[in-house]
Symmetry: C2
Subunit: 413 residues, 2 copies
């Protein structure tokens, strides 16, 4: 019999409790033990549940209970989740979480504490919801050098972009629909400005490259400025616009890492990942590209990833098996302006033919895009790869020639 605690009885936390009740036999078969929720921490009251008797408002009831061997931290945010997690690990309890904010901020430290206490800190659910990605990445890692990680890591923005593309829905309307369906928060900033995706790519990159990467060091761009025009130009180019998190090793042990909307060509698997689905492509030097696709959020998918971690924590009790990374105090993030990248650009101009002539002269191998019904005072084009820094010079040059840049998106190679 393994006794566990759940801290935070919100959407995912309650899902975890439900799975232990519904799939209990399954869990016993897989972990070798009956898994029982002994305590649930929440400041709110939940009367009328079949398990209302398990609730406590006092963290001490969990951390000081020696019977509890695994704690699921489903609280979200950094504090007090951080202090509670640390205390549980130091008391020899494994901790399982879906809290990407905490892992992205304090992962290295908590993993070290887990190791020192011979327990585990698992966070499969923090990236990609129900998609197994952390363990498969380990597996790829075992025999491969990871050359690139690219992912659609936020379901809300992918839902919005799909609605824009497939239903010609303007951004604001698609966002409102996402909120109505419960995909987006009332304050959707973390989703649409890329913070959420940024935390996840930081976690994946830390795992792959061994050093903690702080989200604040990572360049990110959101999707709030995208218009239907961009989406249609993208289609005319046989591509889709996706919010992509990307990390890849560059010279001197640095990693180029960023989050932003990118033009994804249709022959890239990520282009066909629509709606609230997430996907991660890992490119290894031996295995080439492998892609994992599934529901990146939602109660049951995320809770199922948490419970799978619980099973692993129960099976490995007393042995620290989780992959770790360190925080050596130095940022391994390369300057994103040194990236070499091709761009899609949309510009406004009073004189289209003059603007085209200038662009052609400035960018000899440019490819112009067009679609039925495009605005008469704008042009759009795709460049050859250039150092990102040069794209700013290009924008200045365009402006000096009476051409106003409106959109600039990276192209995913």
């Amino acid at each position: 019999m393994a006794k566990i605690a759940v801290m935070g009885h919100g959407v995912v936390g309650s899902g975890v409790v439900e799975i232990t009740l519904v799939n209990g036999e399954q869990l016993k078969k897989r972990s070798g033990e009956t898994i029982e929720v002994k305590r649930i921490l929440d400041l709110r009251d939940f009367p009328g549940l079949s398990y209302s008797n398990l609730f406590t408002k006092d963290f001490q009831d969990i951390v000081n209970d020696e019977e509890i061997s695994v704690v699921c931290e489903m609280m979200g945010g950094v504090s007090p989740a951080y202090e509670f997690t640390k205390a549980c690990l130091e008391k020899g309890k494994s901790v399982v979480t879906s809290n990407k904010e905490l892992v992205a901020q304090k992962g290295a430290e908590l993993l070290q504490i887990a190791k020192q206490n011979n327990v585990n800190y698992f966070f499969e659910a923090s990236v990609g919801g129900g998609i197994p990605i952390i363990r498969p990445l380990h597996q790829c890692l075992a025999a491969n050098k990871i050359e690139e990680i690219t992912g659609i890591l936020n379901g809300t923005t992918n839902f919005i972009l799909s609605k824009m593309l497939d239903d010609n829905m303007p951004f604001e309307e698609a966002l409102a629909l996402a909120q109505q369906k419960g995909y987006a928060e009332k304050d959707p900033t973390a989703d649409i400005e890329g913070d959420d995706a940024c935390r996840k790519i930081c976690i994946l990159a830390a795992l792959a490259y061994g050093n903690h990467i702080y989200p604040k060091d990572v360049h990110k761009e959101g999707i709030s400025k995208l218009t239907l025009a961009d989406v249609r130009y993208a289609r005319s180019w046989d591509g889709e616009i996706k919010l992509i998190g990307r990390a890849a090793p560059v010279e001197n042990g640095k990693v180029t890492i960023m989050v932003g909307p990118m033009l994804v060509p249709q022959d890239n698997m990520l282009s066909s990942v629509d709606g609230v689905f997430n996907a991660v492509t890992v490119k290894g030097n031996m295995v080439d590209k492998v892609t994992f696709v599934g529901r990146g959020a939602g109660k049951s998918p995320t809770a199922s990833a948490v419970v799978a971690d619980v099973v692993d924590a129960v099976k490995s009790h007393g042995t620290s098996i989780s992959q770790t990374w360190i925080d050596n105090g130095e940022s391994m993030v390369a300057d994103y302006l040194d990236d070499v990248v091709a761009y899609y650009m949309r510009v406004k101009t009073a004189d289209v033919s003059a603007a085209k002539a200038y662009v052609e002269q400035r960018l000899p191998e440019v490819e112009f895009l067009d679609y039925d019904g495009s605005a008469e005072d704008e042009i759009a084009f795709v460049t050859q790869p250039m150092v990102a820094r040069e794209s700013h010079t290009l924008e200045q040059d365009l402006e000096q020639n009476g051409i106003q840049p409106v959109s600039k998106l990276r192209i995913l190679q």
Copy 2:
């Protein structure tokens, strides 16, 4: 220091040796030990290699060497791979394999022997080449009941189908190209008749449902009778034809399982998996659908999966952690004629309008398909779901009305 042996120095076996040489530092970091190939078993001579001194023609040099803790069986076929694997497990050595034929035939028995001897029998590379699928399936399994497994499990046939669809290449020509590129064997029967895919879906189903499934009990259909007409009709329906292996639990503890070409709608992730890529979709009752995509064959991808298993075998030496299934002597395979399935059919007829009228009367909710340049003496249509057995009655009825069935494909729901 962990010493391993490789049995069979073919494409994958030599790849395994190479990875241990090229990514040695990586492997040490991941497994905690230096991994060294001590012996290689092959009846052929390989002079002039940097490691030619490691070869032996005598299996006893491996099985009786107490220093060797992990053996990679890369020989293929059932015998003598079976006898050698058994002997190694009984001597307390873990065995890692990419041999799907052996796992599909003798998996249950070898897993039991591994368990009894406190060692592991790992076979990640036997399904999906380099794609991590066996372990992610465990992970999904931990918290989910698996409601369905569907997969594109053979890269050769997927390459052929992609060529037919994208380049209008007839089947024979696409097969010849696959052979020329080294994807298909000289005798391509196992690929194009579905035997290879069948072994893999049997392995996945055994893992998911706990009982051994013999390939001989599974209904399978190949792709050799497909024509360009079928592929174009499929496109007109917004679908693609893929060779699909599928398993799903039905009543009475049985599993419906089969391999055959199916019409896959474009909103199914599997429809966009092209060329030599493989993909597996697992549907769990909590996580919904997760899909794993990557190179299903090839030297480096497959060898990298083998080496990842070696790392796991080294790390878990002395503990049996592999998932097992049993062979209870009873087939859990349900009669495929009891499946409920919608069909695509193409038929030849002397009188198209009479045939259409008959089909419409016989199948009230039928959907007719057409494409530019379709043959004048044939029609194609998509049916509503029916019990598979009834599709044979339908074919007889058609024939009795002067309508000759030419193609019949299942539609993947």
